[in-house]
């Protein structure tokens, strides 16, 4: 018999509805404008680790509403937020569904610290953490692996990663990713909101970079973890169009080296950056993960009415 039923209990549907209501009230109170941007657009992203789903004749399903929201910001929208469905090819598992719900917002004039405070204010009543802990990426990585992610050699990192079952032939960024996902993240306290900032410079994507106290380049980027899940990823947004164009170009070269399809840089985003993006910080929060952390559910498919294999 064809299995037409949803995968979730009605109670899980109600939890999602109440999460959406909480978010809407939160931003209404803070006078942030709710917006809608396209899910389907001509360009995807150049990021090496995000594969967009192509819709022949139209372009790509968006992996994040970031580019369109930045075009709104450049046009003078002021603070904006939205919840959108985003799409990433091949991301399916206990913590991933190829289509998922993303809350994303941008705050012109906010420093990264102010945005982190706002994230904590939004998430705390939902997740009721015992405490909020803040780490620099370097410190938390060193604490759990014994290695400095910025200065350790690739061979030291490889040795440590292979103890944990990593595949061979990983470059330094991939080794750090592996250790972060398999050693550091599982060791973070489950009952706290853990904010990790100052990511390695190579992981800047669309964030500004700065030099830390040792003169190492770090990204002005943070992530928030709770209950063993990565929930939020925020940037002090890069506003320099030339630097952004150079990063897109570098991404395209990396894609070519890895045998991935070429993705052209989005000229409309670059034109908006040239026009001028206000100094701002922005963050994206995976709402399915928030529900997982809130309800202590270990599989995203238990919280989606129709996960990809039933959709």
């Amino acid at each position: 018999m064809t299995d037409w039923r949803p995968a979730t209990a009605r109670e899980a549907l109600a939890a999602r509805a109440s999460l959406l209501a909480h978010i809407r009230a939160f931003f209404a109170q803070r006078d942030v404008l709710e917006v809608e941007t396209p899910c389907l657009a001509r360009h995807g992203v150049t990021d090496l680790h995000i594969q967009c789903i192509e819709v022949p004749g139209y372009g790509f399903l968006q992996s994040s509403p970031e580019y369109h929201m930045k075009r709104l910001l450049a046009a003078g929208s002021g603070a904006i937020w939205q919840i959108s469905k985003v799409f990433r090819h091949g991301e399916a598992g206990r913590r991933h569904n190829p289509e998922f719900s993303l809350l994303e917002w941008y705050r012109p004039g906010f420093s990264l610290d102010e945005l982190i405070d706002e994230c904590v204010a939004l998430l705390s009543p939902l997740l009721k953490p015992e405490t909020v802990i803040r780490h620099q990426f370097r410190d938390v990585f060193r604490q759990h692996t014994g290695l400095d992610p910025l200065t350790a050699s690739a061979s030291e990192l490889a040795l440590r990663a292979q103890q944990n079952g990593a595949p061979g032939d990983l470059d330094k960024p991939a080794l750090v990713d592996w250790l972060m996902a398999t050693v550091v993240e599982p060791a973070l306290p489950k009952d706290a909101l853990v904010v990790v900032d100052d990511f390695p410079g190579w992981a800047a994507a669309l964030a500004c970079k700065r030099q830390d106290h040792d003169g190492e380049w770090v990204a002005q980027r943070f992530e928030i973890y709770c209950g063993g899940y990565e929930l939020a990823n925020g940037y002090h947004e890069l506003t320099d169009a030339t630097e952004q164009a150079a990063r897109f170009q570098r991404d395209r070269e990396l894609r070519q080296q890895h045998g991935l399809r070429d993705m052209s840089a989005d000229p409309q985003l670059l034109a908006a950056l040239e026009h001028g993006l206000p100094d701002c910080s922005g963050v994206a929060i995976g709402l399915d993960r928030v529900l997982m952390a809130q309800r202590g559910v270990g599989d995203i498919r238990d919280l989606l009415a129709f996960p990809v294999d039933r959709a």
Binding site: D47, H49, I50, G90, E91, A92, G93, R94, R95, H96, G165, A166, P167, L170, P173, A174, V176, D177, W178, M180, A181, T182, E185, F199, A203, A205, E223, E230, N233, L260
Partner: protein
């Protein structure tokens, strides 16, 4: 054979790993932040039954393994090989001791078995879930025992030894579950 990428690694898919055919048992997707994604995969080596755990970069691929399950009729054993026949093509194949392994003690001539073939060669032989075999040796039964409390060992024509109730006698045919090796009942003519 086709190549399969980590996206295609569904339980049951047969792939080649380190030169051995394997079946995917579980595939877990791991992705840190915005970085490199990995797949942690559990596979069963179909040659020796061992379970392997391996990690791949997402998007890596493995060659498919030409592994099929085929119903075949057991013909006879010559002591070194066990001979099977395809039910429609009547083609005959010989399976060695490694492939037959524990199934040997349940194989009765003319019974139908599942044979896993790799590149056309028998890799593993599965006996039917239930077999009916004659008892060739067991202690004389005790009159009046019908509950089967405790039971006694009985040797079957194929050499297997199973526990049967005390009232079951040499020469009788019994039905046995090959998955548990347990007696199910007597077959009366």
């Amino acid at each position: 054979m086709a190549n399969y990428s980590t996206n295609d690694f569904k339980p049951g898919l047969k792939v080649m790993l380190d030169g051995d055919p394997c079946a995917i048992l579980e595939n877990e997707y791991v992705k840190p932040g915005k970085g490199q994604a990995f797949n942690r995969v559990r596979l069963r080596n179909l040659k020796n039954g061992k379970v392997w755990e391996r990690t791949f970069r997402s998007g890596d691929s493995l060659e498919g393994a030409d592994v099929v399950d085929q119903e075949m009729q057991f013909l006879y054993s010559d002591g070194e090989f066990w001979h099977f026949m395809h039910p429609t093509s009547f083609e005959q194949l010989a399976a060695g001791e490694a492939a037959v392994a524990d199934a040997a003690k349940w194989l009765k001539e003319e019974d139908s078995c599942q044979v896993t073939l790799w590149n056309g060669v028998p890799l593993m032989v599965y006996p039917p879930n239930f077999v009916e075999l004659e008892i060739i040796e067991t202690d004389p039964g005790v009159k009046g025992d019908t509950a089967g409390s405790g039971g006694k060992p009985a040797k079957l024509t194929t050499g297997a030894v199973v526990r049967v109730p005390l009232f079951v006698q040499t020469g009788e045919i019994v039905k046995v579950d090959t998955r548990s090796g347990e007696y199910v009942g007597r077959i009366k003519d």
